[in-house]
Symmetry: none
Subunit: 192 residues, 4 copies
DNA sequence: AATGAATGAGTATTCATTCAT
DNA sequence: AATGAATGAATACTCATTCAT
C-alpha cells in the first residue's frame, strides 16, 4: 500500500505507457514500456503489480490531468452558457492538443478492466458537471424531455466529434470548436 | 469436381468471429473461432488465409447487412427530413438490435488493418448518403457554415450516442430514438 | 500396385519435385510440387502415397537417368584407365550439367528415409563398377592396401569435388575435369 | 545485480542442439532442444533470440572446438609434409571422434542461413591454412596446375571421405587415416 | 482417376509475471 | 528497491494426408 518512493520512476512508466498504448494499443508489451521508461522489466511491476493495474493507473493519471485542464479558472459564477462553453473549449482543446492521451483514454474506456475506483476517481469533476446540469434544468434552458444524462451524452458525443475534426483539419480548429458548440447549444437548449 | 467450398461454413466462421470479437476484442484467438464455428482450426484458413483477412471479411459482412437494413424501402422521393429520418431510424435500430455486430464494427474501424477494398466495399450506401447531403444543401436547409462532412460527422456522433442509450436503457428506446433525431435536426437545420 | 495410367503426370510430379527440392530442400511442401506439376494436391498422392515414397521415387528417377548418362557407349573392352576415365568424365559432366538433380541426389542420400530397394535399384551400374574395380586389382594397378570400397570412395569424393569446382568456375570446367582425373589416378594407381 | 546470464545454460542448450540436429536435422524443434537442455522453452530464446541465431551459435561453437583440436601443438616450424599431416590427423580424428558434431557442421554448411560473421569467425585457422598452402607452392612441392583452392578442395574431399570410412569401420581407423594421407600426398605432390 | 476442401497435429516465438541476485 | 534471467502458457499459421464429390 505504501507507494514506492521514487515518484519520478512511476511517472516515467506512466508516460512511456501512454506513448506505447497510443502507438500499439493496450496490447503493447510491458517490456517495451519499461525499456522506454528507462527501468528494468521487473521494476514496472513494483509500481504496478499487474498490467491491469498499470492501465488503471494510466487512466487515472490522464483523467487527473484532464480535470486540471478543464476546471482550472472555471467560471463557477457565470451563466450556464458560459460555464458550458468553458468546459467545451477546455476539453476540446485538451483533446486536440494531446491526441495520444486522448486516444488512450478512449481506448481504456472501451476496454473491460477498469475498476470502480478508477471510474469514480475524479469525483470533483463529476460533481461540478452535475451542478452545471442542475442549473441548466432549474433555469428551464433545456429542451423538454432531456435528462441530465442525456445532455451529458450529447455534450460528450459532440466533443469527441469536434476533437476528431480538429485533429484531422488543424487549420480550421477554431472554427470547428465554435461551430460544434453552436450545434450543441441549438440542439439542446430551448433558446439562444 | 471436388467438394465445393461450403458457403455455410464460411458464414458459420463469420458469425463465430463476430461473437468472439465482441466478447474478447479482435485479439480473440482463431482457435476459439474455429471451435465455435464447428470447423477444424485449419479450415478457417482455407476461407480466410490470414487473421487480417478474416477481420476484413467480418467488416464487409457486417457492412453489407447494415446497408440492407438501412436502405431497404428507402424513400428516395420523399423530403430530405424524411429520408434522413429513415436512415436515422434504421441505423439506430440496427445498432441497438445487433449490439455485438455494432460493437465489432466500431472496433474494426479503429483497428489499423482495413484494406481499401473493404473500406470502399459499400459504395452504394456511400453514394446514397452523398445524394442526401447534397439535397440538404441545395434546399438551404443547413445551418450556415456546415460542410457535408461536418453534417455527416454530427449525424454519426449522435447515432452512436443514441445506440448506446438505447442499449443501456431499452425500455425507453423509442423515446431515445425520437429525441435524438430532434436534437440532431435542431442542431443542424435552419430554423423550421 | 498397378501403376496409375498417366505416365505424363507422374513425370511432371517428379520433375516438379526435383525443382522444388533443389530450391527449398526436402522440406518443400507437397502442395508446391503438385501446383508446379499442374495437378491437384490430392493427385500427387495417387502416384506417391506418401512423401517418403515421392522422395524415393525422385531418387530412383535421378539414378536411372544418371546411369544412362554414365554407361551409354561404355567402352567395356578398353583398358581399365580408359573405362575409369569414361565413368569419371560422364559422371562429372552430368553433375555439372544437372546441378539441381545432382544436389537433390546428394540431399536424399544424406536423408534418413531411403528404402533398400531404392538404394539397390540401379544394380546394373553397381555390377559394372564392381567389374571395373576387379579388373583394377587383377591387373595390379592399384596401390597396395586399397580395397575396392576404398577406391570407390576416393573416386566418389574426387568426383563430387570436381563437380563443385566445375559449377563454381564453369570457364575452366574442362581443366578441372582433367586435373581431377590426374590427381585421382596418381593417388590410386601404382607407379607406371 | 540481477541473476547473471548462465554460461552453463548456454552450453547446455548448444550441446542439446547439436544432439538434436544430429538426430533429426536442423528441423529439430526448439522445444525438444530446450527440454533436453533442462531449461524452459522461453529460456532458449533469451540466449538465442532466433532459431537462426541458435544454428549460427552451434556452428561457431563447433568450429571453435575444432580449431582447438586441429591447431593445438601445431608444428609451425616443421616441414610442409609434417604440417599437412598434423592437420590431416587432427581433423580426421576429431571428425571420427565427434561424429554428431561433424555431421551437424556439414549440415549447417549446406544450409542457407550462415551469417558472414559466422563464416569468418575462425580467421586464425583460415590464416594458418593459407600459410601452409603458400609454403607448399613456394617449395615447388605441388603438382603443376593446382591452385591453392584446388589443393584445399582435394584435402577436404579426402578428409571427409576418410572420416566416413573411419566411422563406418572403426577397427581399421588408423589404417584408413594413413592410407588416406598417402593417397592425398601422391595425388597432389610432385614427389614423396 | 482427379479434384481440392477438410483435418488437426506440430512449431517458432511472445509476453506477463516471478524470483534469484 | 532494482535488476533482468527464467518461466511456460498461448497463438497464428503450415502441411501431409484423407475424403466427399
Amino acid at each position: 500500500m505504501a507507494r514506492p518512493k521514487n515518484e519520478g520512476k512511476r511517472n516515467a512508466i506512466l508516460a512511456a505507457a501512454i506513448r506505447a498504448f497510443a502507438e500499439k494499443g493496450l496490447a503493447a508489451p510491458t517490456s517495451d514500456i519499461s525499456k522506454a521508461a528507462g527501468v528494468a522489466e521487473g521494476t514496472l511491476f513494483t509500481y504496478f503489480p499487474t498490467k491491469t493495474d498499470l492501465v488503471n493507473g494510466v487512466y487515472r493519471d490522464i483523467k487527473a490531468e484532464l480535470a486540471g485542464a478543464v476546471f482550472s479558472s472555471y467560471p463557477r459564477k457565470k451563466s450556464v452558457r458560459e460555464r458550458l462553453r468553458h468546459v467545451w473549449d477546455r476539453y476540446v482543446d485538451w483533446g486536440a492538443g494531446h491526441p495520444e492521451a486522448h486516444r488512450v483514454l478512449k481506448e481504456i474506456e472501451l476496454w473491460g478492466g477498469l475498476t470502480v475506483e478508477s471510474r469514480t476517481s475524479d469525483s470533483a469533476s463529476i460533481a461540478e458537471l452535475g451542478a452545471l446540469a442542475r442549473s441548466f434544468h432549474e433555469q428551464h434552458l433545456v429542451r423538454k424531455g432531456l435528462s441530465d444524462e442525456y445532455i451529458g451524452a450529447v455534450v460528450n458525443a459532440l466533443e469527441e466529434m469536434t476533437i476528431s475534426l480538429m485533429i484531422a483539419d488543424p487549420v480550421h480548429a477554431e472554427r470547428h470548436r465554435t461551430l460544434g458548440f453552436e450545434v450543441l447549444w441549438s440542439g439542446i437548449a430551448t433558446r439562444i
